[in-house]
Symmetry: C2
Subunit: 287 residues, 2 copies
């Protein structure tokens, strides 16, 4: 069995940075209470690893003890949440991805200039929730062109995308936003490319890989938006695509009669997860 | 033969305004030399009518006598041309459509704020030429999505449309501009709806009419962009569409075996042109 790994698989710049910062912070504050508000990145195994280093994962600010140290996850929080953390905690480490922070700044400026902000992305995702916190009154989230086609819009509209979106989907959403916005004269749609390069490159490499292998394994958190998108993308060209969180979930039956396997992994998948998956597929291929 | 006329056919607000202004100016300046730079509107019969009222049509500023009175056509001129006219002429009447003037202001502001301006429209059309004059360095004109797909763009792009464009075409162009612009991170595409309502309504009414008649006659100048677009639009749903400048061009053979005829006319077609066409079709239907 030949096994290929998609280029750009695994930790992106923002995730690497957040993990490094969080671990250093946990070590520095050893002996003190340290909390990670939300999952530091969307990978359960890495969340556990950080818990072992001393930073307990909580989902609510109310679960954080007064005076304790807090870590803001790579997906960011709203300005309101940030203020509450600063008020309540002894120290706050902000690991928000700089590319997400940049979107916060863009939508804040748009809202200040009276644009209605549209965010193309998943409304339940932490990154989108944090962006929404800066996007002002009337801001809305749309997950698809179909959702965008139902919008009621103001005269001036600003549009951004979740960093991990697919570009084709984003451009489709923009087309619908324009159709809805352009019913009144001089209405304006101001769109920003906020999809990060790592996402774009990883998606392109995964699509290429899906075309040359017989079976594709996507490794990463089941709650990771960008990992799920790799799975969806693979499915557009290959029927045999499987999404696993760890190598142990990979089944022998998936490789019966197959000659070449591909492995791709989301931005929140550690290198070990990729290496373990490759090892397991090779082992299956030998038996 | 039943004959239907599309709603919104004939002179739009901007054309009506320009013709009123130009005739009053010609009358006021009777006895003096008066020139209309370019065709006041894109209808040869109306140009002749204005010439008879005393305003001679010329295509170049150099053809205007020093100290004479000049009329700027409804499609507008560049700032440079305006300055030259003011310098050379005894008086200048500006009949530029306020909706075109608004586009001049939008692109000037975009250029000042360092946006590369893209104009969706016909590069040879006077309106587009006048807009281009305010659009700053690096501004380009594209007539189709295919042309837009070949663009090399700067990081910040501003897009406007010729007032008489088709909205679906404009949104297609924007999709391509976004695809080209969004190769770099945080690139921005700022699009304005500058298609005028009269155009939008006339196109919608013509399309509806084309669906219910057997033959469609489009009346208007052969050099009128918005009239040509009505013809193209009609052709998308009906094979029997004819573009004439005056009623005399309407042929009997076009109506053989047909029961219902439609008439639509561009923004630069005078009411008389529409009435004459309807009369001629009815006469043909009776014989």
């Amino acid at each position: 069995m030949k096994v290929y790994v998609a280029e750009g698989s695994g930790f992106c710049f923002g995730v690497k940075r957040a993990m490094d910062m969080a671990f250093k912070y946990a070590v520095k504050n050893r002996g003190k209470k340290v909390y990670s508000l939300h999952e530091i990145i969307h990978n359960p195994q890495e969340v556990v690893r950080l818990e072992k280093a001393g930073a307990r994962h909580v989902e609510k600010i109310s679960s954080i003890e007064k005076g304790a140290a807090a870590i803001i996850s790579t997906h960011g929080v709203t300005g309101l949440e940030q203020d509450r953390l600063k008020e309540k905690c002894g120290g706050v480490l902000d690991t928000t991805c700089p590319y997400v922070k940049k979107i916060h700044n863009i939508v804040k400026k748009l809202a200040d200039e009276n644009y209605q902000v549209i965010i193309a992305g998943d409304a339940d995702h932490l990154e989108v929730k944090s962006i929404l916190g800066y996007a002002g009154e009337g801001a809305v989230v749309v997950a698809s062109a179909r959702e965008a086609s139902k919008l009621k819009l103001r005269e001036k509209v600003g549009v951004v995308s979740q960093t991990t979106n697919n570009m084709a989907m984003y451009i489709e959403v923009l087309g619908e936003v324009q159709k809805k916005a352009f019913v009144s004269r001089y209405s304006e749609v101001r769109a920003f490319n906020t999809i990060c390069d790592a996402t774009k490159n990883r998606q392109a490499a995964t699509l290429e890989l899906a075309k040359k292998v017989d079976v594709l394994i996507i490794v990463g958190g089941k709650n990771s938006a960008n990992t799920k998108r790799l799975y969806e993308l693979g499915k557009t060209v290959l029927p045999w695509v499987y999404h696993v969180e760890t190598a142990s979930e990979i089944k022998k039956a998936w490789f019966a009669g197959k000659k070449a396997a591909g492995v791709s992994a989301g931005a929140s998948t550690p290198e070990k997860g990729i290496i373990d998956a490759v090892k397991r597929i090779k082992m299956i291929g030998e038996n």
